[in-house]
């Protein structure tokens, strides 16, 4: 490629033809213009007449110039000019593939890995040693350059890890195995800076060209920067998009679903990264159910925040004496009323006092219990910020040393007070209106709430101040006092309906909500935050993989608190960790920085290089049209005809096209031709075309099926009814077709067509056809039957050749067809409407214009054998498509003959 400024020429030798232009100028000047043609019957009289004085007429200069421009444009066009062409790829003597394998590399991982595998295989096929450096923070073994299949195997096995990526230290030891010569580096980056990256970049740019391939989907990181009742998340991304944040969790029925969708706030730029705060403004009962926040559409451990104790509702420990067994007893138990009241807004722990304290609750509720230790662990807990809510009751009233009882907001008078009983004069008392500034301010008191009995407080100067709710006669109903950083609250009545009707009313629930929400969760959060808690051995219960999928920790190793505090790493993958009752989430997301690439060439996602040939040819055509018009002006001297001719030239093609069927499709209907779906990725489309061409050659050579050259099918416009077989390579670039296109596709499938889906990723994970997100995205809306892997006796394995395996460029991938159980009653003559696999068949079939294979398959003779089998699979497939269940009947022919023979004999 020759460069002239920003324009590169693919065939610079053609430019030499520009030297002909002056000659052409001279020739055109010398040649007279074409004479006017006139029909004239008097011509008979002119025979033999000579011009009296010959006049040399010359072409006018502007017409000449137009023609010159046309010719020059054509010459330039054939020199294959490209505007800002991609820099030429230098093939070094060895290849190093660097892949970011941290959590942020998960989006677009499959595409990057497939590209890496292809690059490695191409280099190995050319005999160049290849090494792989995975920046997953795990290995720091020296680079090993090899030219065997181990490199590709390493790449295929690689997965993004649920922790931030990190490069090993780039010292000389790493390069011990480096072969002599230029080292070419392909760097699959997630676009972020990771530790030691700059050192590696410097070392590698010194060793040879470095080509950086950023991942297609911008790296995204989601982290929680504020907790409490209204947590704040932070979304950092290298792209411009602001995807929504999904709050996921179980709904009231326990089915996991999307609970809410949050929009990120205003962006701010910081180090090439766009950071947006996300306010989680959800009702407490909804927030309490959220188990994780995820970025919509990004599958990455870094784009996921797992909920833990910090997100949860305040933990309320209910100190009780065990549950009542029957319903009648349940209605008598104070714990029942408290459970019902607190279930919506808090997480309840019902346990003994010791266990409850070890779980670090925010609130402890005690019912009618006396004899607490004044300086035990409970008192310490309250002093550290806990909220202790106590209820009075008959036991408290009967306690002899109630005056000495600690952990009460006020001193109580033993005995209590009955109102409205058989032996008392007064009626049950209603509740006085709440103080507007108090914790219960604004709550409305139902009229039927009355209190029949209560414990009385000893009069003291601060009694009125401590009383936050009172009866209509001024006696306190709820009192509150501080103790250390915590608080003590006493209900002077019971939590069941024995002493008052308050627990039966909604007011009770609201009062408890107010109290619980006033409890600071700060202490509990400090307890749950791995960075601040100082002790404890944590065990992973569930851990994330790099794509943000939770799975059970298979063999969790206990992790000390200190390791947890350092953040996720190879030994401490992101996930949920538990220690006793405490649960803490370790998230992979965190602050990110954009990487810079001095000295390396970064592949831009936009089309590299703009070919100019088409525009130049268009310019040449326009110049020729103008020339035609000019010539007509010269001849006729009229403008009307010129305009008409121009219009004719400009609009004729459109008119003719509007009335025609696509000739390719017509050919497909007339003489069999295979179709392939245009994916929008020019390389993939070209591979499809070459692959189907190769298969067409094979079919023509070996069978009576003689397909014409393959047809490119644009799903949005093409009339699919004319096609029989459609090859659909799954590429990440293809936009999802419109609903109309899917309607046509479904009609096509029902009408007997077949689609061969090829994910081309060799089904590396072995998880079946659901593996590829792109396949799910593109084929999801299709009317698919139930699928099964191709059974051994499927017609596909014996419709022409007998095959054991259905390999393409990759062997061994599972191929899926319509399940045989679903086959009854289908209209397709028993032919599966879809065949799904990832073996990269088109690449195995692909031949160039000379009929030579385009892609390497395997190595050596084994590879050629595999290619042959791939061709045989293609032949079988087309036979299967074209003959339907005729071939499956053929399988039964021996049995049928046998039966005929028996019938004749019998």
């Amino acid at each position: 490629m020759m460069m002239l400024g920003p324009i590169g020429f693919g065939a610079p030798l053609v430019l030499a033809a520009l030297a002909v232009l002056p000659l052409l100028w001279w020739l055109l000047r010398a040649l007279p213009p074409v004479p006017t043609r006139i029909r004239f019957p008097g011509t008979a009289l002119l025979a033999g007449l000579r011009d009296p004085e010959p006049i040399a007429r010359r072409t006018p200069w502007w017409l000449l110039l137009l023609r010159m421009i046309a010719v020059a444009a054509v010459i330039l066009a054939f020199a294959q000019p490209v505007w800002r062409p991609p820099p030429p790829q230098q093939e070094g003597d060895a290849l190093l593939i660097v892949m970011d394998a941290g959590a942020t590399a998960a989006p677009g991982w499959n595409a990057a890995r497939n590209r890496a595998v292809r690059a490695a295989e191409t280099a190995i096929a050319a005999g160049r040693p290849v090494s792989v450096l995975l920046a997953d923070g795990q290995g720091d073994a020296p680079l090993i350059f090899a030219a065997d299949g181990s490199v590709a195997a390493t790449l295929r096995a690689a997965q993004p890890q649920p922790w931030p990526g990190r490069y090993p230290v780039a010292d000389a030891e790493m390069f011990a195995d480096l072969p002599d010569g230029v080292l070419r580096t392909i760097w699959f980056s997630d676009g972020l800076d990771h530790p030691n990256r700059a050192a590696w970049l410097a070392a590698l740019t010194g060793a040879g060209p470095v080509e950086v391939i950023p991942q297609a989907i911008p790296a995204t990181s989601l982290s929680m920067i504020g907790d409490g009742p209204q947590p704040v998340l932070e979304l950092a991304t290298t792209g411009e998009q602001a995807p929504d944040i999904l709050a996921l969790g179980p709904d009231p029925q326990g089915i996991p679903r999307e609970l809410a969708r949050l929009s990120p706030g205003p962006p701010r730029r910081e180090g090439g990264v766009t950071i947006r705060p996300v306010q989680v403004d959800l009702p407490p009962e909804l927030l309490g159910r959220v188990t994780r926040f995820a970025v919509d559409g990004v599958e990455s451990a870094a784009a996921l925040v797992l909920g833990d104790d910090r997100l949860r509702r305040p933990v309320v420990a209910l100190i009780s004496e065990g549950r009542a067994t029957s319903e009648g007893q349940a209605l008598l138990s104070p714990a029942h009323y408290l459970r019902s009241a607190l279930a919506g807004s808090a997480r309840l722990i019902e346990t003994g006092l010791t266990d409850a304290l070890s779980a670090g609750p925010d609130v402890i509720v005690m019912m009618d219990r006396v004899g607490l230790e004044p300086d035990g662990p409970l008192a310490d807990w309250v002093a550290e910020g806990g909220l202790l809510i106590r209820f009075a009751g008959p036991r408290m009233a009967a306690a002899p040393d109630l005056v000495m009882e600690p952990l009460l907001p006020v001193r109580l008078r033993p005995g209590g007070r009955d109102m409205g009983g058989a032996l008392s004069w007064g009626a049950p008392r209603p509740i006085a209106p709440f103080d507007a500034d108090g914790p219960f301010g604004g709550l409305t008191i139902p009229e039927d709430v009355t209190v029949r009995a209560q414990l009385m407080a000893e009069p003291s100067p601060d009694l009125a101040e401590r009383s936050i709710a009172a009866l209509s006669d001024g006696t306190p109903l709820v009192t509150r006092a501080g103790m250390g950083e915590g608080r003590l609250v006493l209900f002077h009545s019971t939590a069941n309906a024995d002493w008052s009707t308050l627990p039966l009313s909604g007011l009770f629930v609201e009062m408890l909500d107010r109290l619980v929400s006033s409890a600071g969760t700060r202490a509990a959060a400090a307890e749950a935050d791995p960075a601040q808690a100082q002790d404890g051995i944590w065990t992973a219960t569930e851990i994330l993989d790099g794509f943000g999928r939770l799975r059970d920790a298979s063999d969790p190793a206990p992790v000390p608190q200190a390791a947890l505090a350092e953040g996720p790493g190879p030994d401490v993958p992101a996930g949920l960790y538990a220690s006793g009752e405490r649960l803490v989430a370790l998230n992979a997301g965190g602050p990110i920085t954009e990487a810079s690439w001095p000295g390396a060439t970064v592949e831009t996602s936009s089309t590299p290089g703009l070919p100019l040939a088409g525009w130049l040819l268009l310019a040449a055509t326009l110049a020729l049209v103008a020339d035609l018009a000019g010539a007509m002006v010269l001849r006729r001297g009229g403008a009307g005809g010129v305009t008409a001719a121009l219009l004719l030239v400009l609009f004729m093609p459109d008119l003719s096209r509007a009335q025609e069927i696509d000739p390719d499709l017509m050919r497909a209907a007339n003489a069999f031709a295979m179709g392939y779906v245009l994916t929008g990725d020019a390389g993939l489309d070209e591979t499809s075309r070459q692959g189907l061409s190769g298969l067409s050659h094979t079919l023509t050579a070996r069978t009576t099926v003689e397909p014409t050259s393959p047809v490119a099918v644009d799903l949005e416009t093409a009339d699919l009814t004319l096609l029989t077989f459609l090859y659909w390579p799954i590429g990440s670039d293809q936009p999802v077709p419109s609903a109309q296109a899917y309607l046509r596709l479904n009609r096509y499938l029902r009408g007997g067509g077949m689609i061969l889906f090829d994910t081309g990723d060799a089904d590396l994970a072995g998880t079946g056809p659901d593996n590829s997100a792109d396949l799910r995205r593109l084929a999801g809306p299709l009317d698919m039957p139930p699928l099964q892997p191709v059974p051994d006796d499927h017609v596909l394995t014996r419709s022409f050749y007998l095959l054991d395996d259905l390999p393409g460029r990759y062997a061994g991938g599972e191929v899926w067809v319509e399940a045989s159980s679903a086959r009854d009653g289908t209209v397709n003559d028993g032919v599966s409407p879809v065949v799904i696999g990832g073996n990269g068949w088109a690449e195995a079939w692909a031949v160039d214009d000379r009929g030579l294979p385009v892609f390497a398959v395997g190595t050596g003779m084994d590879g050629e054998r595999q290619r042959e089998i791939a061709h045989r699979f293609g032949v079988n497939l087309i036979m299967y498509v074209l003959t339907g269940n005729y071939k499956s009947d053929q399988i039964h022919v021996p049995a049928l003959l046998e039966r005929l023979r028996q019938e004749e004999g019998g």
Partner: protein, 294 residues
């Protein structure tokens, strides 16, 4: 006969009727009177069916009593029969050139073609002759008279197609005795057939009138610049300077007319020209004049 041809024939007939209406009925004076059985206005100077008295002749045995002219017979003893002069029509044949050049209507190609004008003149003349009691036909067809023949003529003329070649000439074998032939053409392409036809005619004692019909372009030659002249028949002439050819062309045209005129005189025929830029009545009046001149 297709409807289109019929309607174009009707249009042609209407236009020709209008053109001929301005002229008196044409009774031919030129040329011989043929011995035909058809009644007409020309005496054959012998006894026969007719309207005018020819002679009294003595009655012989075959004459019926009714045939005897008693008034003449009463003056003598012999019985006389009154004979009338045998009267017959003259026959005219019309020939219109069908060369491709006759389709020329100028460079605009939208005006009246030479063929249109020729048909109009031919049919108008024929109608006026028919009204004069003459027998008219296209050359080579059976002559006839009356309204039926007028219809047939207009149909034939309207249906006449052009030849692919440039020139056309009357077939010498079509020359018949006892008729007047009206030849209408541009006579631009030289052909020996015309001279042969005229020779045959004069040999039979018939006569002819030649009308050369030209477009103004063909008379004026208003072209200039580099031109390739073409004809439908494939004749070509390239020139760089058409203006320079104008005088030479006009000279050629004059020479051609001279030739035609001499040829006509030699055969006892008349030669006239008509320009498409002039009204058709000019040609009609001239033809009327030369055909009816005593």
């Amino acid at each position: 006969m297709s409807a289109g041809s019929a309607s174009s024939a009707a249009i042609l007939r209407a236009r020709a009727e209008a053109a001929a209406g301005a002229l008196p009925p044409l009774i031919l004076t030129r040329g011989p009177v043929a011995a035909t059985v058809a009644p007409g206005g020309h005496g054959l100077r012998r006894a026969g069916t007719g309207e005018d008295f020819w002679q009294y002749r003595p009655a012989h045995e075959g004459d019926t009593a009714r045939a005897i002219d008693w008034r003449r017979s009463a003056r003598g003893d012999a019985q006389f029969v009154r004979d009338r002069e045998r009267q017959t029509a003259r026959t005219a044949a019309i020939w219109i050139g069908r060369g491709a050049g006759m389709a020329y209507a100028g460079q605009g190609a939208a005006g009246e073609t030479k063929q249109d004008r020729a048909r109009l003149i031919g049919l108008s003349l024929a109608l006026s002759m028919l009204r004069g009691g003459e027998r008219v036909s296209l050359l080579g067809r059976a002559p006839g008279g009356g309204n039926v023949q007028a219809g047939q003529l207009s149909l034939d003329l309207a249906g006449q197609a052009l030849l692919p070649g440039d020139g056309d000439a009357p077939d010498p074998a079509m020359a018949r005795p006892g008729q007047v032939v009206v030849l209408i053409d541009d006579f631009l392409v030289e052909t020996p057939l015309l001279a042969q036809f005229l020779g045959n005619l004069s040999g039979f004692g018939s006569t002819a009138v030649l009308l050369q019909l030209l477009h103004p372009d063909e008379e004026e030659f208003p072209f200039g610049g580099a031109v390739r002249f073409e004809t439908a028949g494939g004749l070509r002439h390239d020139t760089r300077d058409a203006e320079g050819l104008r005088m030479a062309y006009r000279a050629r045209l004059a020479a051609r007319r001279e030739d035609l005129s001499r040829m006509a005189t030699q055969a006892g025929a008349l030669f006239g020209t008509h320009d498409l830029g002039r009204p058709a009545s000019e040609a009609l009046i001239w033809l009327h004049g030369v055909l009816a001149a005593r």
